[in-house]
Structures are given as C-alpha cells and as structure tokens.
Symmetry: C2
Subunit: 279 residues, 2 copies
C-alpha cells in the first residue's frame, strides 16, 4: 500500500563544503507523472508536483481549450491505474465530460499533448498555434503601480514549500487591492498556473476579470495563453517574458509586466491598466 504522493520528499545526500564532505538530509521538490484520462482515453501525461491534482486537471482542460465551462465536467476524480495500483495510486485523474461537449479524444490526443502542462505542446502543425478561441480580457481593470511593487513580497511570504526546497514555482491571483485569492505551487510553472485556474473553474470564479496573475518564473507564450483562456487582465513576473509572449499579450489586449524588482518594473503590453486611479 503506497502512501499518497507528497509535494516534498526527504532524502539522504552528500554535501561538499569547502573541501569537507558530509551526509545530510535534504528536502526535494516532488515530481511525479500525472495521467489525465477523459472517458476511457488517456489524454496526457504531465510531470507535476503531487497535490491539487483535480485542480490541475480541470485547469488543463480549460486552458487547453477542451472545455469552456464548469458544467461540462460531469465527474472529476483521482483513480488508480489498472496496471500497477501501488505505484500509480494518486497519479491518475479520471474525467467524465458532458457527452454533448465531448471532444474527439483521438483528435484531442493528437492536438493537445503536453508536458509540464504547457499550452501548445503537441500541436502537430505550426499553423494551429494562433488559432485558439481567445477572449479579450477586461478592458476596465486598473492596477496601482505601488500595489504591483508589493506583489512579489506577498507571493514569497505565501510560499511555505518554496523556502524548503528552492525547487518550486508559484502562481497566485491577487485582486486590485492586493488581497490574495489563491496560490499554488508546482515544479512546473505551467502546472502552477493550471492549478490556480482549475481552482477558479471548480469554484465557479471564472472569468478572472478582476485579478492579477503573478508567476514566479519567466512568462512564455503558454503562460499568457492560459491567462487569456481564464480571462485574466494582468500578468506579472519578476523575470523576463519571451518575444512571443509579448506579441500575444499585445494582440489580445492583456497587460504584461516583467522585472518586478524593488522600485521598478517594465510594462511590455497593455500599459493603460497601470494607473493610480485603481477602482
């Protein structure tokens, strides 16, 4: 009988310190494959940090464009794989979708494969990258620059696990007054975002028209795509976005902030939402 997977594992390591070597115990960020199965068909295997797997699966289905609404999910549960119940216990999420919105799973398998829950993975043609159904985010949302500056500290304060391993990414939603709505962690940036969005979907909080999404790592194309699928108007990061992330944010009217550090940040897109007259 295997234990439920945990987000942090303890292991014995050797530490070399200025010529001296010693054994010690060290915490590792847990990484395990998660299979998402829709009906009877495997949809994808994602390398993720165990925990909040139902949210991850729900978020993945939404941000990959497989579903648009909460009520398309008939059931969502953790399950055991037939082949090796001990090893895979807790590493399988089974989803039943409304038959009317049930996509062709073979087509899904071809088009929506993913790792670390990244958005355009496995799209078997470049031509389909930009063809998603994308909604423009809330044009009226405003955010005070002084509040933006406080967000990285608020994120760090909430990351209990981060301080122990140095190995986890975080994603969090804040309202325009800086109140945190939800924070999730994962070894994969995309997974942390999907867990946050999946939580919001399951709590019937979508679209996230009045929230900022803060991510701890780089903002690539897929992060922006996922934010747009959830209706998020502002994405912030302490690091640099990619060229394609900036291009997508500009085309879709999303505000993209990078290099949030001390008393400075860079606005890559949607500068009109950064304003002291926040509502």
């Amino acid at each position: 009988m295997a234990l439920k997977p945990r987000s942090v594992n303890l292991t014995q390591v050797f530490e070399w310190n200025d010529g001296n070597i010693g054994r010690k115990e060290d915490y590792l960020a847990a990484e395990e494959p998660l299979e998402i199965r829709v009906g009877d068909s495997p949809l994808s295997v994602i390398m993720r940090t165990p925990g909040h797997d139902l949210e991850l699966a729900a978020g993945f289905l939404l941000t990959e464009g497989l579903i648009e609404r909460r009520d398309q999910i008939i059931s969502l549960k953790e399950a055991a794989a037939e082949s090796d119940a001990n090893v895979n216990r807790g590493n399988l999420v089974a989803v039943q979708l409304d038959p009317q919105s049930m996509p062709d799973t073979e087509k899904m398998r071809r088009n929506f494969f993913a790792a670390s829950s990244c958005g355009i993975c496995g799209k078997a043609s470049i031509d389909s990258v930009r063809s998603r159904t994308l909604r423009a985010p809330n044009p009226d949302f405003r955010l005070d620059p002084e509040l933006l500056l406080r967000l990285p500290a608020l994120l760090r304060e909430s990351q209990a696990v981060f301080g122990r391993t140095g190995g986890l990414h975080a994603a969090a939603l804040f309202d325009s007054a800086g109140n945190p709505l939800i924070l999730r962690e994962d070894i994969g940036r995309h997974n942390a975002v999907d867990k946050v969005i999946g939580w919001a979907l399951l709590e019937n909080r979508l679209p996230l028209s009045d929230f900022v999404l803060l991510v701890s790592g780089r903002g690539g194309f897929e992060i922006i795509q996922k934010a747009i699928m959830a209706g998020v108007p502002v994405v912030g990061s302490v690091s640099a976005p990619s060229s394609l992330a900036v291009q997508l944010a500009r085309e879709m009217g999303l505000t993209l902030i990078g290099f949030l550090r001390e008393r400075r940040f860079v606005i890559y897109a949607g500068e009109e939402r950064v304003s002291k007259n926040s509502s």
Copy 2:
C-alpha cells in the same frame, strides 16, 4: 520576404521607475514554434529560441529514443511550411530517416509529443514513463570538486545572450579539465540540452562518456533522461533537482550535483565520481 528568426528581439516597452514612467528599447529572448517533420508526418511542435534548429531536431530525435545513431538520419534540413512561407520560414525542420529504422510515425505522434522538448511529454500512459531504453553512463569518469566549483562561472562567461535578456537557459559540456566543448542557449532548458546533444550527435561525438553536462536551471526528470540517452556521466546545476530526477540518477548510476554555489555543492547521486584523483 521574412528575415531569418533571431535569438533576441528588440522592442519598445514602458519602464516604471520609482514613480516615473518612460519609454525605452528592450531586448527579449525570442520564442517561436518549431515543427519537426519526419518524412511526411509532423512529429512535434516545440516552442524554442530560434537558432541551431537542426541540432535541436537531431538532439530531440535521439533523446526521445526515436534514433540511436547519426547514420539513421538520411537528411536533416530547414524547410518552409506550405501554408505560409513568410511566417513559417525557418520554423520547420524536415528529417528523413533510414527506412529500416523508420518508426511508425502515427505511433510516434501519439507517444512522443513534446513542448519545450521535454522527454516524457505526451506519453499517453504513465506505465510507459520508465520504460525507455537507457544506457548506464561511464563508471570510470572522475571529476575534481575544485573543478566543479568553477563550472558555473565558466558557463556564465560564455552566455553572451543571457546578459542581454535575462531570459535564456544554457546547457554546456565540459571535459574533466574544465575545457568547454559546446554551449547552447534556449528559452527552454530542455531545448538547450537537446541542442548540445544534437550538436554532439551530428559531430559524431556520442556517447558523451567523458563530459559533464552543466545546466543553468532546475534538474528535472527529463533533463536526466536526456543526459542518460547521450551517455553523459555527470550532470551539474546551480539549482535543486526534483525527487524523480534524483531517483532516476540513482537507478541509472548517473552523478547528479546541485546547488553549485561559491564553495559548496550537494551530491544527490553517484558520489563516487567526485574525486580529487581525476584522470
């Protein structure tokens, strides 16, 4: 006529600095989708930083287990997609494989989808994650701890692009005397590793039995898997590995080093290769 994609793009941004806002030009790490096509069939779309695309494709084929040797590649070339030659020029690599080693591309598509070139992406069953053909790396390789300590500085010195955008990962190979063999950068860690390994494959340098692979980011499961597929005996990082990366390294006899910082590092697996008696 589109220009060849570049690894860095220049764009206009707004900088907010302690209450003052101004326009400036900023460099962004380029991100573009790359389609890898085997024969007539699309195999995968990878979000990557343009540059060294043939190496990326070759490395991906090897580290995903589609090929084992250089001579299985009959041709490897950049091509233009039919649909939109301007946009996609330079974003398609076409590969012809030896018909005798030609895999079933539909099966390949199902099993080897990927994003950011991560190894187990799209494996449509958890049971297949650990089933790769993996070779044990060189047991006789030894590395002086003082040399290990110098590697992060050597890596940083070589990263011309990194200093301009803050947005690129790097992977590099060093011999046991600290001489760099090759360094590649990409917005995706897995891609940087595949570019390095693909270069080695195309130069007939595999297996990489006498080299250390240094990566700038976290060491997850797929990084270790890729290193093992290329015969690399030691993987080093300035950051933390995941639990599954450590488990895989221990099971396969690969040396895994983390937290390479100043006068300290942690040995997570294969401690016997860290020795002052380096050959």
